[in-house]
Assembly symmetry: C2
Homo-oligomer: 505 residues x 2
């Protein structure tokens, strides 16, 4: 193992146990970790750190750190540290249930931000120092450069900016990952910044390895543990209907000459609905497609394997255990068709706009005027964070937002009079899709949008109440550009908070 994975002798000499490595991390530090969804996160050191924290707390002390990641969702990272109340600040995207609970108890300062903004915010010096970076890699080259893992995320920035580095070398990762990554080292703060030289989704503009100053490496920890991405729910009738509406729309746009036959690079957000839409595309008769996205989930892997997608660019491989096995079994095939990049590049506004991505993201709710909430339950509880949805929705060729029209067995409508939190404004939302249908909002004024969204997207159980609201708002609103009844606009959410149901009792 040592000879195969850790080929730099100086770094091989720094191999130690996770507990010893975690001892390099002290209270109050800024700790930047690898990991994007359940891919490429450190498997051992965060848990060792959590044990240290628990021990300190058992003696009456406190031990918290600031935790920065790519967009980790791993229980072994976020869950372990949140369990012992060891997280003072966390950014960006998360979805571990224990961490989420701490955030919504007001115990963790959670900073939700566009994924494309994370690396630059640290590079610009806006977000304080990084004391320690903990980064999982597949191997270490003789000159100290690193073979990245199943995600890159912000690792380039963490390694560049951290005072000290702890590396986890995970033997469970296939060494055949080597060559799949493309790490771009041309970014820099302004002034004097030059164009990013990427013009097609699959272009390689960087180098396959991460640079790392060996003098900063204070520990190397060997691990042998798989990524833990959850299985996806199989597409159900609802998600199949959403996919069906979307495919019909794409075909229509091709027929109208507004999209090429090979479409434009697909971006597909995190989660079951986005994943299911990819399955819908598999049977739609498209070919020669490409993807420029942040995560590759099972559905997109299928499209690559099935020859529907020629090339896919992302920052993480977010596969279920089954898909991961399939990926490993065919890794040479995939290595020529998949490029993994830093998330500052996978989500870069310049590239998303240039390529003209088709941005397909899940939402929590939309309002009748087309504002979208991606993050907050009833305006106050954080779900996962905005992720890259804003990077792609704002700058893509078309922005789609997808959701079942109801949640909680019909108690919640995904279409509401006014969203309880806005992540994507009316200016950034082109198309809304539920299993009921699709609302094409391009070029529509607010009242036209309301008609389209209520008629096409709202669940029939809520449609009349929404229409009633718009009619009463038209009569009584302060202004008639975007008619609202301010004392009623959020009443559906308030009713849910009070009764567990948005419907009148």
């Amino acid at each position: 193992m040592l000879e195969e994975r850790i080929r730099n002798p100086d770094l091989a000499a720094r191999v130690m146990g996770a507990d010893e490595a975690a001892a390099r991390i002290g209270p109050g530090m800024g700790v930047a970790m690898s990991g994007f969804t359940g891919a490429g996160y450190p498997k051992a050191v965060p848990q060792a750190l959590a044990r240290r924290m628990a021990a300190v707390q058992a003696e009456g002390g406190t031990f918290q750190v600031r935790v920065m990641t790519g967009a980790s969702t791993a229980p072994e990272l976020d869950g372990a540290l949140a369990q012992v109340k060891g997280v003072q600040l966390r950014l960006p995207y998360q979805s571990d249930p224990i961490l989420r609970e701490r955030i919504n108890a007001g115990e963790v300062d959670y900073v939700d931000m566009h994924l494309s903004h994370v690396a630059q915010s640290f590079t610009y010096g806006f977000y304080g120092d990084i004391d320690v970076a903990v980064v999982e890699v597949a191997g270490i080259l003789p000159d100290g450069r690193l073979i990245p893992s199943t995600s890159i995320g912000n690792n380039k920035t963490w390694l560049d900016r951290a005072d000290r580095v702890i590396l986890e070398v995970n033997r469970a990762l296939p060494l055949e990952l080597d060559g799949m990554h493309d790490v771009y080292y041309g970014t820099q703060p302004p002034p004097g910044r030059t164009p990013l030289p990427l013009v097609e989704a699959g272009d390689r503009i960087g180098e396959p390895w991460l640079r790392c100053d060996p003098a900063k490496v204070v520990a190397v920890v060997e691990t042998d543990a798989p990524d833990r991405n959850s299985p996806f729910a199989p597409p159900d009738a609802t998600s199949q209907a959403i996919a069906g509406h979307l495919v019909e729309f794409l075909r229509h746009e091709v027929a109208k000459g507004r999209l090429p036959k090979t479409l434009l690079p697909l971006q597909s957000g995190v989660g079951n609905t986005a994943n299911a839409v990819m399955y819908g595309l598999a049977d739609a008769g498209f070919s020669g497609l490409s993807a420029f996205t942040e995560v590759l989930q099972d559905g997109m892997l299928d499209l690559v394997q099935g020859g529907v997608i020629d090339v896919a660019s992302a920052t993480a491989l977010s596969f279920s255990p089954d898909a991961l096995a399939r990926f490993r079994d065919n890794i040479d095939f995939f290595r020529s068709r998949i490029v993994l990049r830093s998330q500052g590049i996978s989500n870069h506004p310049e590239l998303i706009r240039r390529l003209g991505c088709l941005a397909m993201n899940a939402m929590i709710e939309a309002d009748i005027y087309g504002n979208v909430n991606s993050t907050h339950i009833m305006g106050s509880k954080m779900q996962n964070g905005i992720g890259g949805s804003g990077d792609f929705a704002r700058n893509g060729y078309l922005s789609f937002f997808l959701s079942p029209s109801t949640a909680k067995r019909g108690a919640i409508s995904a279409i509401v009079p006014m969203v309880s939190h806005v992540d994507h404004t009316e200016h950034d939302v082109a198309v809304i899709v539920t299993e009921q249908g699709l609302a094409d909002l391009r070029g529509l004024a607010p009242r036209q949008r309301a008609k389209a969204i209520i008629a096409n997207c709202a669940h029939p159980d809520f449609r009349d109440a929404l229409t009633d609201y718009t009619e009463r708002a038209w009569r009584a609103s302060f202004g008639r550009h975007t008619p609202h009844l301010l004392d009623e606009a959020l009443s559906w959410h308030q009713r849910f908070v009070e009764t567990g149901n948005m419907r009148p009792g």
Copy 2:
């Protein structure tokens, strides 16, 4: 006049009166006009069209058109057409009082959108056809190319996409404008799009003239009328205090090494507050600055003339009559220091991100968590539109939002529990400034943002009520990440609608 301004004989033969030209425009047409703020709009044809509309209506007919502009605010365009109820749809930014009244009466379908998205939405075919373009120019070259006016806006796209073209040649425009413009013809729909080759604010990447197929020109109208930009309010104590806080912050960022001494390209939004901030910069000891913005107002002209700004890029010259005279008197000096571009380029996300603009925009209100409303009064009445604020705030190096802390003689607080409309989400707002002070929101979680905004930006008359809201929301909110009381969050606005005052009676 003919020989000097209209040097193409074919087009000289198509000179006619405004009424005759306006007869080329029929009911239901899509009419794309030049004009960005009060600069470069057609002076005669819109008014002739309004007279035709009035005549048709006097006989019981209807006559409306769809009106697209750069971001016109001209009474002679928007006001004249709105006065006769001739506008069915209007996009994007506007501020003419009569048009605004029609929009808020629900009589005009107003589509508010990012200024950088307008041209591409038509090029992609998303927004329907353009039947006629009406474009003001300073002159026509022998080969039919056009010397642009005091704004470019979307003129390139209008001329490219329209079926027919009406040109207004305005002899009141100085011919010395020739050479100040830079029209980029490398944009195209994806796929295959290449990087925009601009790396410094003053780079010229296009050509000085607009191309126009002479076969499409159905009329040439001669005019002799000045642009009509309003004078700016002289900086008062409030705007001087806002400028003071901003200058102090910029100096602090330079001292910390987070900004170079020459800062980064300035963007300054439309209006008195943004204009006043520029005056504040004049005395701040900075030099060697640059601007990459959408409009040049009086304050920025002063900075150029005073040698504080070396080069300024924009899409429009939005000068008061006094400043316009000064500009004309020194036009050779300014021609080497000012570049006018298409608004798709002046506001392009790729360029704003690359250059790292300092985005300074006015706002209507911000909430305690840092969401910003730039467009809607009390959630329903449209003020002017989002303009380019989103283009710059999202993609710039730092996004500042500026406002006096109160409006309507203290009846309205610019800091509220929840904004009544969101144009810039918490993810896109770095710094909020009022005359009370400055809140630096970088890296802060929602509850930390609330503390900073209330303490630094809210007016003392509203501060206790805001703190009281946050404390009660902390205790009673559904979740504690972004605590809110949904039945009270918009009550300040509702109270204003009912009583004319946000304060409890």
